[in-house]
Symmetry: C2
Subunit: 160 residues, 2 copies
């Protein structure tokens, strides 16, 4: 088992079987590439996905506290601080103290924020389409259906 023998000149770099066989790896690599594409497109305009998540949430629910934003986006409260900071610095959101509850901040989207959301949404629509390009409508449905089921199963706390 610990004897020499071996490659030396094998210039090809095949992926080992045991690695390729892992479903988690397949999923992870696919997601990794996909996210790299999406993140790259967002980064081109100086955004991250947290920005889109917050903006989209504000658009749908209106002014919210940070705790609400955290619950609805899944972003940790601690990470939300930085996200709101960044969005506020660019004038996309406003953060004001809630007069009714002084622990709270009310975060609301500005006009510029609405435009920004439109820009980011367009980017995401575009990249999502490009990513799914090789699939026809039926395959997309199958894929998203399977992924939804998988997500539900895998997100089920208690079983893990």
């Amino acid at each position: 088992m610990e004897t020499p023998a071996e490659p030396r000149f094998g210039h090809s770099d095949p992926t080992p079987e045991q690695l390729r066989a892992q479903f988690g790896r397949l999923l992870g690599m696919t997601a990794g590439h996909t996210q790299r594409i999406v993140n790259g497109a967002l980064a081109d305009v100086g955004a991250r996905k947290y920005h889109f998540a917050v903006l989209a949430t504000l658009d749908e629910f209106g002014p919210s506290s940070q705790a609400q934003l955290s619950d609805r986006t899944g972003i940790y409260r601690s990470d939300l601080v930085a996200t709101v900071n960044e969005l506020a610095a660019d004038g996309y959101v406003r953060r004001e103290a809630d007069p009714g509850d002084r622990r709270r901040n009310v975060v609301s989207m500005t006009e510029a924020g609405g435009e920004r959301l439109g820009q980011l949404a367009a980017i995401l629509t575009r990249t999502n389409a490009a990513i799914l390009a090789p699939f026809d409508a039926e395959e997309r449905e199958r894929l998203t259906g399977l992924l939804h089921r998988l997500l539900e199963h895998v997100a089920d706390r208690g079983s893990w």
Copy 2:
């Protein structure tokens, strides 16, 4: 109005439409949960996926230089240094200077490393099975088939 603060990834508030609609998010969240499960299982025995990747590669190709390991696992050379350090510290691999090329190190798996690989492989087999539990054979094939196609498309450098 609000629920207790915790269960991270399964939020309590409704997920905004624009977020839910993103395919990238679906893929990302699914992969995220999956990897958390896998990483958690590996972490329980003090391992990371890089460890498994290197061990599995050594098992299949025999003693290799770090550059070869990097090529075959996809781990960056710089990150491989730490990985080999860790594995060597635990006695799972040996790192020796290559007498034939003094720039190189020859990394080889020890007996303990072989056992470790068996342990990690068992963990991965188990978690992969659990993850795919809700699917029957035909669905698994469909899912992996679709993911493979997606991976190929999305990993295609040049188009992005």
